[in-house]
Symmetry: C2
Amino acid sequence: MKPAMTKVKRIEGVLSPVITPFRKDYSPDAERFVRHCRWLLKSGCAGLAVFGTNSEANSMSVAEKRALLEALVAGGVPAASLMPGTGHSALSDSIEMTRAAVELGCAGVLMLPPFYYKGVSDEGLYRNFAEVIERVGDERLQLYLYHIPPVSQVPITLPLIERLLSKYPGIVAGAKDSSGDWSNTKAMLDAFAKDGFDVFAGSEAFLLDNMRHGGKGCITATGNINPGPIANVYRNWRSADADRLQAGISTTRKIVQKQPMIPALKATVAHFGNDPAWRTCRPPLTELSGAQEETLLTELKAAGFSMPGLAG
Amino acid sequence: MKPAMTKVKRIEGVLSPVITPFRKDYSPDAERFVRHCRWLLKSGCAGLAVFGTNSEANSMSVAEKRALLEALVAGGVPAASLMPGTGHSALSDSIEMTRAAVELGCAGVLMLPPFYYKGVSDEGLYRNFAEVIERVGDERLQLYLYHIPPVSQVPITLPLIERLLSKYPGIVAGAKDSSGDWSNTKAMLDAFAKDGFDVFAGSEAFLLDNMRHGGKGCITATGNINPGPIANVYRNWRSADADRLQAGISTTRKIVQKQPMIPALKATVAHFGNDPAWRTCRPPLTELSGAQEETLLTELKAAGFSMPGLAG
C-alpha cells in the first residue's frame, strides 16, 4: 500500500451528482460539463459527485469518464472537490476508474457495488471492494460506499460496512444512502459515525435529519439545479430557522420528482441556462416529452425558482 | 452500412454460455478458456455463447473480453461458432464489443439491454440497439436479443422486437429467452419465427417445446457440462424417443440448479476435469461451500453423470 504523503481533506456539505451533457451524436461534451461544474461550485456545492446515477455514469465507458475527469482538472475544477463514481459491474473497470481518480488527487470515490448479479452474498461484495482497495494500493484513497437498492438492486448492508471499516479504517470513509429509507440512514449513523464514517443522505429531503444525527451533508440530484438554497440549509442546520429553510428546498424537489428525474434536471438546466443542447440523454434514457417539460417549467416558475448566474 | 460480402451462416442447435476460468488473482485464464471451448464443440455444442450471464461476462472489462475472444480465434475455435455477449450498461462499451465481434467474423452477438437503470422505456431501449447497429454499420452483424428479466431486470418486450425487426430485417436475427416463462417464448415464436427470427430457449428444460414450435435450439448453462446428451435431444427432436431423451437431460439440470448455478458449473468442471483451478469465481460471485460441492458431486455421481474426454 502506497503511504499517503498528503492525506486528502474530506468533503462535507452539499454535493451534486453532476448531470452529463451529451452532443447530438451522444458523445460526452467536456466543455459544457466543465462549465456546469464550475457553476455548481460557485453556487454553493462543497463538492461534485460526478459519475453518479444522475450523471448517466453507467451509460459511459471507463475511457469516456477518465477523459471527462481529466478535462475537469485541466479546466480548473479542484480535484479536492471531486468524488467521482467508480463502481462498475466489472471488477477490472472499478479498479481502473478508482486508480485514475486517486492519481488525479480526487477527494474520494463513490463506489456502487457490482450490479449485474442479484442476490449476491456479502462475502462476494466484500471481496469486490477489498480487491479494489488492494489493487489500487494507495492510502490516499477515500472510499465512500454507494447504497442505492432501488436502482442497483444490490444493497450495502451494515455487516458489510462493519467488515470493510474494520479491515480498512482510514480508507473506507463513508457512504451515500440513497435507499430513501431514513431508518437505514439512522442505523448507519448510529453504528459508524463515531468511527469517522461520513454519512451523506441521498436526497436533500433528509439533509436536516442527517445533520442532526451526526451526518456530513447530502449528495442530491436537485443539487444540480438548486445548489444555493440547499447549501444554505447545510450552513444553517443548527439555526432556529433550519426547519423553515428545509421546507423551502422541498418545494423544488417535489416539483422535479413528479417527472423522470434525469431528463427533468437536464430540461431545467437547458431552459434556465438558455442552452437547449442540455436536453439530450444517452440511451436508454430519453428526454422529457413536450407535455412533461411544460408542466415542469410552469410549476418551477410559479414557485419562483431561478438559477442565478447560469445563463451566460 | 458496410455490405455483407459473405453473409454468416446462422447457428442452430445447442449453444453453451461458456464459463470463464480465472486465475487465483482473478485474471482471465485464456488457455483454460480455449481448452474448454474446444471440448464443448467436440462434445456436441453447435456454438459458443461466450460472455453470457454464466460466463461472468459483466464482471469483466471490454478489453479483457476482447483479449479472450482473440485468443479463441487464434486457438483454432472457428469464429463461425461464436455468439459472444456484447451488451453492456454503457452504450459505448456495447458498440466497441459488438464491432470487435463482427470484425473477428463471429456468427452473431447476443445483446443484453443496458441494465443499470430500471423501468426504462421501449423508446430508450430501441435507441440503444439502433445506435449499436448504426455505429457498427456492418451488414454481417447478426444480432440476437437477450431477454433475461430475472437478472437484468430490464425486459425485451414483443413491441420492441417488432420495431427493431421491421427497421433492421437482415440484422436482427433472433433472441435468447431466459425469462423461464414458456408462454413468453411461445409468444415470441408465434409473432416472429415466420420472419426468420431465431428463438433460442434459455434452458434445455424448454428445448423440445421450443423445437416443436419453430425455435432453433437452446443456449443453456448446463451445456457447459452436459453438451452431448442435450445435443442428442436437439438432433432427435422429431423422433418418437424425444420425450424420453428430454427427461434424461432434466435429471442433471435439477441436480445442478439446487446450487448457485455458476460456481456449481465450475465445481463440476473442476472435479470431472481434474482441474481444481476452475473453482475460482470473480467477485461478486463466490465458489461453492464444501458442503454444497459435496452434495452436488454426490448427486451427480449417483445419477451416472460423466464428462467424456474432459480430463486430459
